[in-house]
Subunit: 216 residues, 2 copies
């Protein structure tokens, strides 16, 4: 059966690959699982049909037969459980990968998302510079900790896993900020993720959606 | 074997149960698993021994034999997999519970934590009221969505699960804000969680740590 995911009809990032359907597309590409995409307008995100799939009106969602899932972390974990290649085999390493998945979405992502919100919605406020300095400091703290843990390793914990997939995608949002420049190990880690053929295919697929709509 | 968790030597919430070791204590109490606690000072959080357990220098961590875990979401999931009572049996319901666990820690928690930070660190800033209004609006959006999904149900998806445990603990941080008052279904949901004997035992255990140190 071919699973169906949801994605923005028009992604607010204009095809830069920052919307969270990228995480699910990338995971599906890594394991070679074809998928369908249902595109959702901003209006439809708030409507009952989508809220039944995701109570918080977000993308992505994932449907496969009777299974309906939300939250990119849970969807990627499900894909990684179903197919080989995205999680280590032994149960303890698998649990550590899950811990990193929670760390990516709940510990590293929030200050990075907050920084995006400041840059987007507070640029004209008198406090913009001071606020940006504070959130940049919060982001740098996480990057510093991540860099220390990575050391000279290619990936977070052994081979590439679903945890790296989520973490790299979380970090990609910093690309335009310049903050990664001071953390060469983290920047190289992100570049390793982006260089994966499965990432490239997923990126091209979401990019094509933006390009197709760009004329309209 | 008795697992060991870490908790703050002196919790910044003064024993209100908001520190995240509560999530793990509560889960262990639900399943009847005794545990040891290693108390960590703020200085020790930054030191190599603790960073080896948690690269981001946070509590809680969980150690059981060779297994060392961080992130309360992953620790609670592990406890729920090991013992009956915190996750449904069928795989699809179990995945939905995991989705709600990611939603609690990655979608509902961030605006609530941000509100705490504003209240704590921006109270004296000229922009305090305007910022508080904005983050309150973000929190209310999530509460409204959660209330709509809960409807008249007692718990998020069938019986009480690890997802409810995390979600209730995330929401408890709002207790003093008054924001829950406008969402009686969510307030009742939180109260149901707090009323569980396992929650009460976990709360008393972390409270005793604060009381023991209060004289010092």
């Amino acid at each position: 059966m071919t699973p169906t995911i949801t994605a923005f009809e028009r992604s607010p990032d204009r095809g830069q690959g920052l919307a969270r359907d990228m995480r699910v597309r990338w995971a599906l590409e890594e394991v070679g699982q074809p998928y369908d995409v249902r595109f959702v307008s901003f209006r439809a995100l708030k409507q009952a049909a989508h809220r039944a799939r995701n109570p918080f009106g977000q993308i992505p969602t994932y449907e496969d037969g009777d299974l309906v899932l939300f939250e990119s972390g849970a969807i990627v974990f499900h894909i990684a459980q179903q197919h080989a290649g995205l999680l280590p085999d032994d149960p303890e390493s698998r649990l550590r990968a899950l811990a990193w998945m929670f760390a990516a979405t709940g510990t590293v992502d929030p200050p990075i998302m907050e920084r995006s919100m400041v840059a987007l919605f507070e640029r004209d406020k008198p406090w913009f510079e001071e606020r940006l300095r504070v959130v940049d400091e919060r982001v740098r703290k996480r990057l510093d900790e991540l860099s220390a843990r990575l050391g000279d390793a290619d990936w977070l914990d052994g081979g590439f896993s679903a945890a790296d997939l989520l973490m790299v995608h979380v970090l990609l949002r910093l690309r335009s900020s310049g903050l990664l420049d001071a953390f060469p190990r983290v920047a190289a880690y992100v570049a390793r993720g982006e260089a994966r053929p499965a990432y490239q295919r997923a990126f091209a697929a979401q990019r094509a959606v933006f390009t197709a709509h760009a004329g309209g």
